[in-house]
C-alpha cells in the first residue's frame, strides 16, 4: 500500500537520488585511476568525472586531506539539497542520518582539543555532513569536564540527548558512594574512541526505534535489516577489538565494557549475547555468531586479533571484510524501490567511494609499485551486482 503513496511526498527526493546514481565511478574508471602516476594526474582525472566542479579551484598538488574535504563537501551539498527537498518523515529521517556524522565531529573535536590542536585546524577538518552551528563552541571544553561541556554546549544540539545518556550511564556504573573526584578520574581516563563507540551505539539504537515507529512498512523492511546488520557489525567489531586488548586486563572488566558498547539490537542480541560477551579468542567468537546469517563465513577469513602486531597493509582486516559485505547490502538496498533505504545506501556507498579515492590517492602519493597488494584494497560500489 505504501508503495502507491510513496511518490506523493518523497518521489522527488528519491528521483534525485536515483539520478545521482549515475555519478558513481565505474570499475573502468577505478582502473584508470589506478594507472595515474601522480596526484595532479589523479586530480585531472577526477575533473572529468562528476567531481569536476568541486576540485577546479584547487592547485594540482592537492593534499589528500583537502581532497577528502572537497569530496565530502560535494556529498554534503548533494545531501543538503535532498534534505531541502524533503518533507515530513523524510526530513526527520535524513536528519537522523546526519547525527552519525555529528557524533564523529564532536568526538574528533574533543580528541583534537585534548591533544592541543588549534581550533581553526580542527574546524577546517570537520565533516561537512555533520556540521552544526554549536560545534565551534566545543572550544569551551576545559580538561576532561564532559559534563560541563554537555551543560554549556551540547545540550542544545541534536546529539545532546545521546551525550546526556552517555554521561548518565557512565556515572551510574561507578560504585555507590562515588565522589566528585571519582567522576573526574573516570572522565580523565576515558578515551575519545570509547565515547565515540558508545554514542554511536546509542544513536544506532535510537535510529532503529525511529525506523520501527515512524516509517512505512517497505522502508522499515529494508532499513531494519540494514541496521540489524550494522549493529551486528558493531558488536563483532567491539568483541574482536577487545580480544587481547591490553587496556582491559581483567575478564570482568572486558565483559562490562563490552556490555556497555555492544548495541542492544540486531540479530545477535539477545540470543547470542552471553556467548559473545564471553568470547576471548577468535574461535570462540566465531562459535558465538554461528547461529546468524553468514557471519561465520565472514569471520572465517578474518585474521587473528591476538597476532595484531603481525598485521600489515596486505592483511585483509576484519573491517575490510565487513565493508565488502556491507557494500553488497547497500547496493541491493539502493536498487530497491519505494523505500527510504536509498538515502541511507547512497550516503554509505558514496562514503565508500570517497574512501576508495582517498586510499588510491594515498597509494599514488606514496608511489607504491603497481603490483603492491594495496591497490586491490578498494571496494567498488555496485560491483557486486554485476556478478
Amino acid at each position: 500500500m505504501d508503495l502507491c503513496v510513496f511518490g506523493v511526498d518523497d518521489g522527488y527526493a528519491e528521483a534525485i537520488i536515483r539520478g545521482l546514481r549515475a555519478s558513481f565511478l565505474t570499475e573502468a574508471q577505478y582502473q584508470q585511476m589506478k594507472n595515474c602516476a601522480s596526484i595532479p594526474e589523479l586530480k585531472s582525472f577526477l575533473e572529468e568525472t562528476d567531481y569536476q566542479n568541486c576540485l577546479q579551484a584547487d592547485n594540482p598538488q592537492i593534499p589528500t586531506s583537502i581532497l577528502r574535504q572537497r569530496l565530502k563537501k560535494k556529498l554534503a551539498d548533494e545531501f543538503e539539497y535532498i534534505e531541502a527537498q524533503s518533507t515530513g518523515t523524510l526530513t526527520k529521517y535524513l536528519f537522523h542520518l546526519r547525527c552519525r556524522f555529528m557524533i564523529d565531529n564532536v568526538v574528533n573535536m574533543i580528541e583534537g582539543l585534548k591533544n592541543k590542536i588549534d581550533i581553526e585546524i580542527l574546524l577546517s577538518n570537520i565533516d561537512p555532513l555533520g556540521w552544526f552551528p554549536e560545534i565551534k563552541n566545543i572550544k569551551v571544553l576545559e580538561g576532561d569536564d564532559y559534563s560541563s561541556l554537555y551543560r554549556d554546549v551540547l545540550i542544545d544540539t541534536p546529539i545532546g540527548v545521546y551525550f546526556m545518556k552517555f554521561l548518565e550511564e557512565s556515572i551510574e556504573n561507578l560504585h555507590e558512594n562515588r565522589t566528585l573526584n571519582d567522576i573526574q578520574n573516570l572522565f580523565r581516563e576515558m578515551k575519545p574512541e570509547y565515547i565515540r563507540t558508545s554514542l554511536k551505539k546509542m544513536w544506532l539504537e535510537d535510529f532503529y526505534v525511529f525506523c520501527e515507529q515512524e516509517l512505512m512498512p517497505t522502508s522499515q523492511e529494508v532499513l531494519l535489516e540494514l541496521l540489524k546488520f550494522e549493529a551486528d557489525f558493531k558488536t563483532i567489531q567491539v568483541i574482536y577489538n577487545s580480544i587481547g586488548n591490553r587496556d582491559l586486563n581483567t575478564a570482568a572488566k572486558i565483559i562490562t565494557t563490552r556490555k556497555q558498547l555492544c548495541p542492544t539490537i540486531g540479530n545477535l542480541y539477545p540470543d547470542c549475547e552471553k556467548m559473545y560477551l564471553q568470547a576471548m579468542t577468535l574461535d570462540t567468537l566465531r562459535e558465538a555468531v554461528k547461529g546468524c546469517d553468514n557471519y561465520r563465513d565472514l569471520l572465517k577469513d578474518a585474521p587473528d586479533p591476538l597476532k595484531r602486531e603481525e598485521f600489515n597493509v596486505q592483511t585483509k582486516t576484519l573491517d575490510d571484510i565487513m565493508y565488502d559485505d556491507e557494500c553488497r547490502r547497500y547496493a541491493l538496498a539502493f536498487d530497491g524501490q519505494g523505500s527510504y533505504g536509498v538515502f541511507y545506501s547512497y550516503l554509505k556507498l558514496k562514503e565508500q567511494e570517497i574512501r576508495n579515492i582517498i586510499w588510491l590517492a594515498e597509494m599514488i602519493s606514496r608511489k607504491l609499485a603497481k603490483n603492491h597488494p594495496g591497490w586491490k584494497k578498494i571496494i567498488i560500489p555496485f560491483s557486486h551486482l554485476g556478478k
Partner: protein, 772 residues
C-alpha cells in the same frame, strides 16, 4: 538537398612543427571533419591534453575576473560577445601567441585580484572601525556617562559584534556558563548585533570560559575604555582612521575601474577581453581537433572528410600554409578509399534547416540516400493545413510567422518559415473548406436558392468559384464525407511518393534487382488496392448518379476483395468491364505479395549455397596448394561482397552463413507483412487528417455558438462586447495554441511513420564540420 554531399576521404601526414599551422588553416576553411582515430582514448592520454587544460584555465580566469568585477558593480550587464562572424575572430597565425597571451592574462588577472583583495581588506577594516564607533556610542548611551566617570570594579564587561542569527545561541551560552549571573545587552545594527555583556568579576576560570565563548562566537571584540578621556581619544582616532580608509577605498576603486576600462578598450573593432576570449576559445577548439590525430613519432597522421566539390580548395589551403611558413616543412595529403560509410552532409540555409531538423530528429539520412526534408518543406505544412484549415486562424498564424521574419521573437524565430508555410496552407485550406472561424463566407454568391423548401434547388450550370458552396456550411454529413475521402486520396499520393523515392534510391544504387523486386510489387500493390479506391472516389464525384442507383464504394471494395472482383449492387459503370478490371487488380495485388516476399530470399539462398560450396571445397582441398584456394576465395568473396549489400544484412559480418540466411528470411518476412498490413493501416492512419480537421471546425463552432452567437442574434452590443474577449481568449488558448500543437504533432507523425518508413533508412552519421 535531395541527396547528401558526396564526401571524399583524405589522409593528412604532417610533421609536428607544421601541425598547428595546418590545423589552423583548416579550421578557418571550415569545410572538413577530422576523424578521431580512436574515440576510446580518454582526454588525459592525448598529446595536447595540457594545452586544452591551459585554455580552460585561462577561460576560467577571465570568467573569474568578470565575475568579481560584476560583484564590485564596476561592470554592469557585461557579456562576452559571441563570435558572430569570422571577421571578428583574431587573425593571428602563430601558436606562440598563446604563450604571450597566457602571460598577459595571468598578469592582468593576478594584479586585478590583488587589487581586489586590497579592496576587500580595506572594506573589512572600514567595517571594523565603523563597528567600533557604533559600539562606543552604544556603550555611552546604554551605560551612561556616569559609568565612565566612576567605574564599579565589581563587574567586568565584554563588548563586541556578532552575527544576528547567533544572538539566541550566544545568550543561552552566556546564561549557562555564568549560571545566569550575567547581563547581556544586544542591539541590532547594520546586519550585525552589538552586544554588551556585564558579569560579576568572580575569578579567572569564569573569565577564561567567557572569553572562549566570546572568541568562538563574535566577529569582532573590543575593549571598553576606562574613562571619558580615553573614550574621546579613541573615538577621535577612529574617525581619523575611518577617513583615511575611505580615501584609500576610493583610490582602489578608481584603480579597479581604470583596469576594467583597459580591458574594454577597443582595438580593431573588438574589445580586448573579447579578443582574449575568442582567441583562447579558438585555440582550445584547435587543440581538441589536434588531439584526434594519431601521433607516430614526430609525425601526425590524420584522416578527414571533405565534400568532394571542396577538395580542390583543400590543396589551395595547404599551399597557403606553405607560403606563409616557409621555414617549416609542409604536409602531405592523399586521397584514400573510404572503409567506413561517409558522413551525411547537407548544405542548408535558414529556410531549409528547420525542415532538415524535423527529419533529423527521426534519424540522420544514410549517406547519399534521398533526403525527405526536401519534400517535407511542402508536404509538412500542407498536411498541417488540411488539419488546421480555417481562414481566420490560418491568417493569424500566417501573420504571426511573417511578423517573426521581420522581428525576432525568440523561441519561434528558428521556426519562422515553417510557421509562415503552415499559416499559408491553413489559410488556403480554410478557403477550400470555406470555413471562417466556424462560419461560411458567402463572397461569390451561393449557387443554391433557398426557396422555403426543404432541399434547396441548384440551378444547372452554376458552380461556386472557389472552395465549398456556403450552403454546405453547417452540413456535418457533407463535410465528413468530403474530408474523409480527401484524406484517403492524400494518403495514396503521399505514400506513393514515398515508395517512388525508394525506387529512386534503388536506381541510385544501381540495384535493378531491388528496383524490380521491391519497388515494383510495392507500388503495384498500393495502386491496385488503395489507388483503385481513390479512383472510385473521384469517379463517383465526377459522374452523376441518381440516389437509388448510386453505388457504395465501401461495398464495392469489400465484395471486390471477398468475391474476387465481382460487383454487387449498382455498378460504377459497365458491370462486365468493372468486374474484369477488378479481378485483374486483385490478381496483381495477390501476385505482388510473394513477389516482394520471396525474391530476395531466393537470391540470398543462392549466395548461401555458393558459400557453403566454397566451404566444402575449402575443407577438402586444404591440403593442396593453398594459394589456388586463396585466389578462388578472393574472387568469390568479391562477388559476395557485392551481393551483401543486396542481402541487406547490414552489419552481421560476424554471423555464420547459416545464421545470416535465417536472419534474411525473418527480415524479409517481417518487412513484407509490415508493408502489406501497412498499406491498410497507414491509409487508415491518414484519416487523422479528417478527424483533426473536423475537431478543429467543431471546436470553433462550439465556442462561437456558446459564447458569441446569442448576443449577436439578440442584437445586444454590450453583451457582444463583453463576451468577445472571452471568446477571443478561449479561441486563442484552445485553437491557436493547443490545436496548433496537436496538428503539428500529427503532421509530424504522418511524415515520420507513414511517409518515411516507405523509403527512409535514417541510419547515417552526421557530418560535424570543424570550423574556427
Amino acid at each position: 538537398m535531395l541527396r547528401s554531399q558526396e564526401m571524399s576521404l583524405f589522409q593528412l601526414i604532417m610533421p609536428r612543427e607544421s601541425a598547428w599551422a595546418v590545423m589552423d588553416q583548416l579550421g578557418y576553411m571550415g569545410k572538413v571533419e577530422i576523424i578521431d582515430h580512436d574515440p576510446s582514448i580518454p582526454l588525459i592520454a592525448r598529446p595536447f591534453a595540457n594545452y586544452i587544460k591551459r585554455c580552460d584555465d585561462l577561460l576560467n580566469k577571465l570568467n573569474l575576473l568578470i565575475e568579481t568585477a560584476q560583484k564590485l558593480t564596476i561592470l554592469k550587464q557585461f557579456q562576452i560577445s559571441n563570435k558572430t562572424n569570422n571577421k571578428m575572430c583574431p587573425k593571428i597565425h602563430t601558436h606562440q601567441y598563446l604563450d604571450t597571451l597566457e602571460d598577459q592574462i595571468n598578469a592582468k588577472v593576478n594584479s586585478f585580484l590583488e587589487l581586489n583583495r586590497n579592496h576587500e581588506q580595506l572594506l573589512e577594516q572600514q567595517g571594523i572601525i565603523i563597528d567600533q564607533l557604533d559600539i562606543l556610542q552604544e556603550c555611552r548611551i546604554y551605560l551612561g556617562d556616569d559609568f565612565f566617570v566612576s567605574r564599579d570594579s565589581k563587574f567586568d564587561y565584554f563588548i563586541g559584534t556578532m552575527k544576528q542569527e547567533e544572538i539566541y545561541q550566544f545568550q543561552r551560552m552566556i546564561f549557562r556558563v555564568t549560571k545566569g549571573n550575567a547581563f547581556v545587552h544586544i542591539k541590532l545594527q547594520n546586519q550585525k548585533a552589538i552586544y554588551i555583556v556585564m558579569y560579576p568579576d568572580q575569578g579567572v576560570i569564569l573569565k577564561k570560559k567567557l572569553q572562549k565563548v566570546q572568541e568562538s562566537m563574535s566577529l569582532n571584540r573590543f575593549t571598553l575604555p576606562i574613562n571619558l578621556k580615553e573614550f574621546d581619544k579613541i573615538q577621535n582616532d577612529l574617525t581619523v582612521k575611518l577617513k583615511e580608509i575611505k580615501q584609500l577605498i576610493e583610490l582602489t576603486n578608481i584603480q579597479l575601474n581604470s583596469f576594467i576600462q583597459e580591458l574594454l578598450k577597443q582595438t580593431e573593432g573588438i574589445r580586448l577581453i573579447d579578443h582574449y576570449n575568442m582567441y583562447i576559445s579558438k585555440e582550445k577548439q584547435l587543440y581538441i581537433q589536434l588531439n584526434k590525430l594519431k601521433m607516430q613519432g614526430n609525425l601526425f597522421l590524420g584522416e578527414l572528410w571533405i565534400p568532394k566539390k571542396d577538395s580542390v580548395q583543400l590543396n589551395e589551403v595547404l599551399l597557403i600554409v606553405k607560403e606563409r611558413n616557409r621555414d617549416i616543412p609542409g604536409c602531405q595529403i592523399s586521397q584514400k578509399v573510404p572503409q567506413t560509410i561517409p558522413p551525411t552532409y547537407f548544405l542548408l540555409n535558414e529556410f531549409t534547416s528547420v525542415f532538415q531538423q524535423i527529419v533529423n530528429t527521426y534519424g540522420i539520412a544514410r549517406y547519399r540516400e534521398i533526403n525527405p526534408a526536401l519534400f517535407t518543406i511542402i508536404t509538412f505544412p500542407f498536411l498541417f493545413g488540411i488539419m488546421f484549415g480555417d481562414i481566420g486562424h490560418g491568417f493569424c498564424l500566417l501573420i504571426f510567422g511573417i511578423y517573426n521574419i521581420f522581428y525576432k521573437l525568440e523561441p519561434f524565430y528558428e521556426l519562422r518559415y515553417l510557421i509562415v508555410l503552415m499559416g499559408f496552407f491553413s489559410f488556403y485550406c480554410g478557403w477550400i473548406y470555406n470555413d471562417f472561424v466556424s462560419l461560411s463566407l458567402n463572397l461569390f454568391g451561393s449557387c443554391y436558392v433557398v426557396d422555403g423548401q426543404l432541399t434547396p434547388i441548384k440551378p444547372q450550370d452554376c458552380t461556386y468559384p472557389f472552395g465549398l458552396d456556403p450552403i454546405w456550411g453547417d452540413n456535418l454529413e457533407f463535410d465528413d464525407s468530403f474530408k474523409m475521402k480527401l484524406s484517403v486520396i492524400i494518403a495514396y499520393f503521399h505514400m506513393c511518393l514515398g515508395i517512388c523515392l525508394s525506387g529512386c534510391n534503388f536506381l541510385n544504387k544501381k540495384d535493378t534487382y531491388g528496383f524490380c523486386c521491391k519497388f515494383l510489387p510495392q507500388i503495384l500493390f498500393l495502386t491496385s488496392t488503395i489507388g483503385y479506391m481513390d479512383f472510385l472516389i473521384i469517379f463517383k464525384w465526377v459522374v452523376q448518379f441518381s440516389p437509388q442507383n448510386a453505388p457504395s464504394i465501401i461495398n464495392t471494395m469489400i465484395t471486390m476483395v471477398l468475391s474476387f472482383g465481382s460487383v454487387e449492387g449498382p455498378p460504377m459503370w459497365n458491370v462486365n468491364s468493372q468486374e474484369l478490371i477488378q479481378s485483374i487488380l486483385i490478381i496483381i495485388a495477390v501476385v505482388s505479395i510473394p513477389w516482394m516476399w520471396f525474391s530476395h530470399i531466393i537470391k540470398g539462398y543462392q549466395v548461401y549455397q555458393r558459400r557453403s560450396n566454397v566451404k566444402i571445397q575449402n575443407s577438402t582441398s586444404s591440403i593442396e596448394g593453398s594459394q589456388v584456394i586463396e585466389l578462388q576465395l578472393q574472387s568469390i568473396q568479391d562477388e559476395t561482397q557485392q551481393e551483401k549489400s543486396l542481402l541487406q544484412t547490414h552489419d552481421h559480418n560476424d554471423l555464420s552463413p547459416d545464421e545470416e540466411f535465417t536472419e534474411l528470411v525473418v527480415h524479409e518476412t517481417i518487412e513484407t507483412i509490415e508493408f502489406v498490413l501497412g498499406v491498410i493501416s497507414n491509409t487508415a492512419s491518414y484519416l487523422r487528417l479528417w478527424a483533426l480537421s473536423l475537431a478543429h471546425s467543431q471546436l470553433a463552432d462550439v465556442f462561437y455558438s456558446l459564447i458569441l452567437s446569442s448576443p449577436m442574434t439578440e442584437g445586444s452590443i454590450i453583451g457582444a462586447l463583453l463576451r468577445y474577449p472571452i471568446w477571443a481568449l478561449v479561441s486563442f488558448g484552445v485553437l491557436m495554441c493547443m490545436d496548433t500543437m496537436e496538428c503539428f504533432l500529427h503532421s509530424l507523425r504522418l511524415h515520420w511513420v507513414e511517409f518515411q518508413n516507405k523509403f527512409y533508412k535514417g541510419d547515417g552519421v552526421e557530418f560535424h564540420v570543424y570550423s574556427l
